[in-house]
Symmetry: none
Subunit: 230 residues, 2 copies
């Protein structure tokens, strides 16, 4: 459910970057760093982070300028980290497009909470992850499976097996590979499991499960889900 979040830290002080890297990585984020504005924007383009932590006092150009440049092409949440604590600085940063403003020194716990708040609120609307092949469609946002508009009930194992097939429709998947993906490495030789579950998928999706057209056997190799017409 949780996609790994990337954070870009733009700050010239190595100590601050180190502190942030440790704290953020402890909380499960991946951290990219930049020590000036120019490189910051470069990193933003390269890594498309989920959020940016930006210092105002940068060696090459003022953080506000960097912020405005960012806002010319990106709506990524930006939290300002700065020693400047005057009302004027805070207001102009927020009005230049910052989402939040925290003055140094800051509590790492509060920073993390503000990051969570920003991520929660500014999440880009994600396209509905629906995989379709012929009459079969898998909707990952609702974790539901349909066959000709009819909801099909699947067990967890059946679901992850179908998922694997539909994401690799048209390709031959070897027994070993399927078993490793669905059951885990230690089960790579339990080919019989796979036969049982293939039979179940066929029962649920094939018109005539004695003549499978969707989940095709590749004898001695594995199985293939046919690429179906729409």
């Amino acid at each position: 459910m949780s996609i790994p979040k990337n954070i870009l830290v733009i700050d010239d002080e190595i100590q601050i970057r180190r502190l942030l890297k440790i704290g953020l990585e402890d909380s499960g984020y991946s951290v990219f760093e930049a020590e000036d504005g120019k490189r910051g924007i470069q990193e933003l383009i390269n890594h498309k982070p989920s959020i940016v932590l930006l210092d105002l006092g940068l060696p090459d150009e003022d953080g506000l300028i960097v912020l405005k440049k960012i806002r010319e092409f990106s709506d990524v949440p930006v939290i300002i980290l700065s020693v400047r604590n005057s009302e004027k600085d805070i207001i102009s940063a927020l009005d230049s497009g910052a989402n939040d403003y925290i003055t140094k020194p800051f509590n790492i716990g509060e920073l993390l909470a503000r990051i969570r708040a920003s991520l929660r609120y500014y999440q880009p609307e994600q396209t509905n992850p629906v995989f379709t092949n012929g009459n079969i469609s898998v909707d990952f946002s609702t974790r539901t499976v349909k066959n000709k508009a009819e909801l099909v009930k699947l067990t967890t194992t059946e679901f992850s097996l179908l998922t694997l097939f539909i994401r690799n429709a048209g390709k031959v998947l070897t027994h070993q590979y399927i078993l490793k993906e669905v059951w885990g490495k230690p089960f790579s030789d339990e080919t019989q499991y796979l036969r049982v579950y293939i039979a179940q998928l066929r029962k649920k999706f094939e018109d005539d499960s004695t003549k499978p057209k969707i989940f095709v056997t590749e004898s001695g190799v594995g199985y293939r889900m046919t690429l179906l017409e729409y």
Copy 2:
């Protein structure tokens, strides 16, 4: 500014409300006021403000509770205004759904800038006080629930569980997710709580609770509230 923005202030101190009203109206906002949590939620439903300023120290119930109640049906931006300035208070407010947190006393200019920052990404989407799915309807203005026009009495836990389901009707919600949302993160593994409460909801809403049609079990994963016909 094209559309006039409404702001709801929930604070028991008349001086603060007066100060805010003047400052906000000077900047072109319309201001609604509420002096306790109950009225605050009422006003939120009545006036559908663009943003809410919420004090934590309210006479009738803690601001955090009010915030959680708001988040049960609305994504309106909420900025906390509070004298409580401990890291712990700030973190728990932000993690309960607040968008920002400002400690009193505050600079009106900074507050206005933070309001602008919060409003910038807010897509005005109306907060409907009544959620409906099939015969079941939840009215947040009165916190009452009806099944086929008949009032159903629910405990607070049952209410927020039902709320979560009705807001996500059709989706499979995992045990962990439900527990985190309703009971809080530390309870993510208390799956048995959930079973007990699902049984209670079924007893209150299903025609035949031995054959649940509304709150469906997805074994090994979680539960799903069926999208019902009207």
